[in-house]
């Protein structure tokens, strides 16, 4: 028993959060292999260690809130513009104050008050079976058309990606159209929502539905997967960027900002500058098939094959104001 106590206290001592001058500490919703590679390069170049806690965004925000008296994180990173704006509104961030960062992104993409910056973009695309769909849908609205009854695959309304999509429709077209759309899609569903975006694409390949909604980078991941079934699924569908005739395809942002009261502000800003540099933005496109958020980064071959598209940059900063209403609508129409 005694030796056990000794072992435990020794082990614990190793994990006590000690203030180390040369590190940056992240609370992040994304910790893909690609992020690890980027962080390793950052450490190699700057000598600054990157320490990470990965969990869901709202859980991390709760933790940040509970730590207000003694902030532990330097940088908060998530994968949804609405969450970023909501966090900014709640006073989670402090301005990064970097001029390098300020000039890097297309107008209107980063937070206007300099609280957070985008790292990558993801487009919410429609995929359609190459075999069974000769005239694929051109807009999100088409998915609510009765001709697709029993043929649409889309994940649950708990998914932040779907909440953001409906929030963008709310912002651009108003409540009545948003309700009608959600209702129409709900009635067209091939099955009650389940699984992730990838499962929807696989569902189309297996014949369960004809069209599905997925984030663009999942298609890239399927294409480069080590599982032949994934690659076959990707090959069986065509990719459509919706709403090209009007406001553009709904895109969402993965990004982050410096946590208020952070202990390593300078290092955090350095990491943000590193991530949004041309070299690393190109690397992200290569590794995760996400789109670069910084200006002037050419798409990869995989992305070029999907075709060019116009992103909807008009609604991005209206998502957070509309998310709650979007959820109400999901609940109202019974979209699980």
């Amino acid at each position: 028993m005694k030796s056990l106590t000794v072992i435990i206290s020794l082990a614990a001592a190793a994990f006590i959060a000690t203030a180390n001058a040369n590190e940056v500490r992240l609370y992040t919703q994304r910790h893909y292999d690609a992020d690890k590679e980027v962080f390793d390069r950052f450490t190699k170049e700057t000598g600054i260690e990157v320490k990470v806690v990965k969990a869901g965004a709202d859980e991390l925000l709760t933790r940040i809130d509970a730590e207000k008296d003694a902030p532990q994180a330097d940088l908060f990173v998530t994968v949804d513009a609405a969450t970023l704006d909501r966090a900014a509104e709640a006073g989670v961030f402090q301005p990064h104050g970097s001029e390098t960062l300020a000039g890097r992104f297309p107008d209107g993409l980063a937070a206007s008050d300099g609280s957070w910056v985008p790292f990558t973009m993801r487009a919410r695309v429609i995929v359609a079976s190459k075999d069974r769909v000769s005239e694929p849908p051109k807009t999100y609205a088409d998915l609510a058309d009765p001709s697709y009854k029993g043929k649409v695959l889309i994940r649950s309304s708990s998914s932040g990606y779907n909440q953001a999509l409906l929030a963008s429709i709310l912002a651009a077209e108003g409540k009545d159209k948003a309700v009608a759309w959600a209702k129409g899609v709900k009635e067209n569903m091939a099955r009650p929502p389940q699984g992730g975006d990838r499962d929807q694409v696989r569902g189309v390949a297996l014949g369960l539905g004809d069209v599905a909604v997925s984030n663009s980078y999942y298609l890239g991941l399927l294409e480069t997967s080590d599982d032949p079934k994934d690659r076959e699924a990707r090959a069986a569908v065509s990719v459509i960027f919706p709403n090209q005739g009007n406001r553009g395809t709904h895109v969402n942002i993965s990004g982050g900002g410096v946590v208020k009261g952070a202990q390593n502000v300078e290092n955090a800003v350095k990491l943000m500058e590193f991530i949004t540099s041309a070299e690393i933005q190109a690397l992200y496109q290569q590794l995760t098939s996400e789109f670069a958020a910084a200006k002037g980064i050419p798409p990869t071959e995989v992305q070029k094959a999907w075709g060019e598209f116009k992103p909807d940059l008009t609604t991005i900063h209206q998502l957070s104001d509309n998310t709650e209403e979007a959820l109400r609508i999901f609940n109202l129409v019974g979209w699980q």
Binding site: M1, I7, I8, A11, A12, F15, I16, A17, T18, R25, H31, Y32, D33, K51, V52, V53, K54, G56, A57, D58, E59, T62, R63, A66, E67, D69, A70, Q72, R86, K149, G150, S157, S158, G160, Q163, R191, P192, P193, Q194, G195, G196, R198, R202, G203, L206, G207, L208, Y218, L221, S225, D226, D227, T323, E324, L327, R328, N331, L332, G334, Q336
Partner: protein, 530 residues
């Protein structure tokens, strides 16, 4: 007097986060989103929870009871082996059991598509729902039934066995003796096992969301994440907790004085079954092992063989170390707390104290992991504000210090240690205490000298269950962990989250292997003693 103080302090420490959570029922909430929860989400979620819990409980009985009956009543080749194998599914985390069925479920999609083509959309939707729900229930039951199996086996091989033998000698047939003697006698044991199964089912998040079944736990998460409303989520969690406490109370009341004795020397089965019974025995024993252990393990091994990509061995070894360390620390703390609380409760008799001990041993287990984590954040913030703390204590109080993770896990899994120790103590005759006291022993030395040795099997069983649960645990570890701290559970989650389903095989197998080794050791140790 000192012992009373120790008792109250120990219970208070265990109940602090949950108490804070319960206060959430009275806290003012943004009524609009709470109204929404009530109007749209609550009723369907309650129904889905009831369907799923009932289905998993019934299946757990089907998996667990016949197998327990066979290994405790009949002498057949492979009996001892099965007795150990039947416990092993406990080492498979429910979320892993859910993931591994993906391939099999996808294989059935063409069948579903043909239903839609031939019988229309309505029939398809019904078939799809039944198909999904059945898979989920079977997979959950397949890894949770050991709770029922363990308690049922103990009951069948104790008094139940001897009375059933008596019944047989008086001319009742095997079926009659099972249904009229053994089963009623085992009822309290089955209820205790089913309670654990129901808790695990209600608390599951990974599995149910993967299958698109909206029970109360995902609803709670939806309230929290979707509506960004932690207060409504806490209120919901507090209500779930209250309902569970009431159910528990009713179960205990209903059980009355009928305790179940898990620690008596079990009678050795002597009956040699005839051929048809032997076949039935083998099926009853092999079926659950096949679904709950072999199927997950073989699937994971197959995935492991197909894993490509970067070498993750180093991370895996570190995560294994963290899981083992956490498991040991939490197990030690839980056992210690269980001994202190139950021991004092035995010597200092008071109804108020007894009620408190009962509540303390259910509360943490009954609260959803993530919500408990939030409560722990609150506790941590509370302690940081305590004035005049010595400086060296401060670093420990930062949220993200290992202290809170160990504390959170201990609060959650104390229930298992607390209850098993309690049942263990209850089966030690009071007369022994009195004899020890008569011979001049003080309560403490009587406890150390007399009860502790008798409690050993119960403690070993409790310890291993706590240990395995900590190794499998996800939400608390995910949320309370320090920087760059991966356990096997969080590692698995991270890989599945990236869609690296093959790569998640290695940490999943490590969880299963650690759990299995522990279970085998305890099973052999316990069996040897008997």
């Amino acid at each position: 007097m000192i012992s009373r103080v120790i008792f109250w302090v120990a219970c208070l420490i265990l109940l602090l986060p949950v108490g804070q959570l319960l206060l959430g029922v009275f806290a003012p909430v943004d009524t609009e989103s709470w109204e929404q929860v009530r109007e749209y989400l609550l009723v369907p979620a309650i129904w889905e929870s009831i369907y799923l819990t009932v289905a998993v409980c019934v299946l757990s009985l089907l998996f667990g009871v016949p197998a327990a009956w066979c290994v405790s009543r009949f002498q057949f080749p492979g009996r001892r082996l099965f007795s150990v194998l039947l416990v092993l599914p406990l080492a498979v985390p429910p979320y892993v059991a859910a993931y591994i069925s993906t391939d099999a479920r996808e294989a059935l999609i063409p069948w579903l598509v043909s239903i839609r083509e031939n019988q229309g959309v309505e029939a398809f939707l019904l078939a799809e729902r039944v198909h999904r729900f059945s898979w989920l229930s079977v997979m959950l039951a397949a890894v949770l039934y050991p709770y029922v199996f363990l308690t049922a086996r103990a009951a069948f091989s104790g008094t139940g066995c001897r009375l059933a033998d008596a019944g047989r000698t008086l001319g009742s047939g095997p079926w009659r003796s099972f249904f009229t003697i053994s089963l009623p006698l085992a009822r309290p044991a089955l209820a205790a096992g089913l309670f654990l199964v129901a808790m695990e089912t209600l608390n599951d998040y990974g599995g149910v969301t993967y299958f698109g079944v909206q029970t109360l736990t995902p609803t709670l998460f939806k309230t929290w994440f979707g509506l960004g409303d932690i207060e409504s989520a806490r209120r919901l969690a507090a209500w779930i907790l209250i309902v569970i406490l009431v159910l528990r109370f009713l179960e205990v009341r209903f059980r009355g004085r009928a305790g179940f004795e898990s620690q008596r020397r079990p009678a050795r089965p002597t009956q040699l079954p005839k051929r048809p019974v032997l076949i039935a025995c083998l099926i009853a024993c092999f079926g659950p092992v096949l679904v709950g252990f072999l199927y997950p393990c073989l699937t994971l091994l197959y995935w492991l063989s197909r894993t490509t990509g970067p070498d993750r061995t180093e991370g895996l070894i570190r995560a294994t170390g963290h899981s083992l360390g956490l498991g040991l620390a939490v197990t030690a703390l839980c056992l210690l707390a269980a001994l202190v609380i139950n021991g004092i409760n035995r010597f200092v008799r008071s109804p108020a104290q007894d009620t408190l001990a009962r509540i303390a041993s259910v509360a943490g287990y009954a609260s959803p992991g993530s919500v408990l984590a939030v409560a722990i954040f609150g506790t941590a913030a509370f302690f940081r504000e305590v004035p005049f703390l010595p400086e060296f204590v401060r670093p420990w109080l930062i949220s993200g210090s290992l202290l809170w993770l160990v504390y959170g896990l201990s609060v959650r899994y104390f229930a298992i240690a607390g209850q098993m120790t309690r049942e263990g103590l209850a089966s030690i005759p009071r007369g022994l205490d009195d004899s020890a006291r008569l011979l001049g022993g003080r309560p403490f030395s009587a406890f150390i000298g007399v009860q502790l040795p008798l409690l050993r099997p119960a403690l070993a069983g409790a310890g291993i269950l706590v240990f395995i649960d900590v190794v499998k645990e996800l939400p608390l570890s995910l949320l309370l962990r320090p920087f760059d701290f991966e356990t096997l559970g969080t590692w698995t989650y991270g890989l599945v989250d990236q869609g690296l389903i093959f790569a998640c095989a290695a940490p999943s197998l490590a969880i299963v292997a650690i759990g299995s080794i522990g279970l085998v050791v305890v099973e052999l140790f316990l069996l040897k003693r008997s």
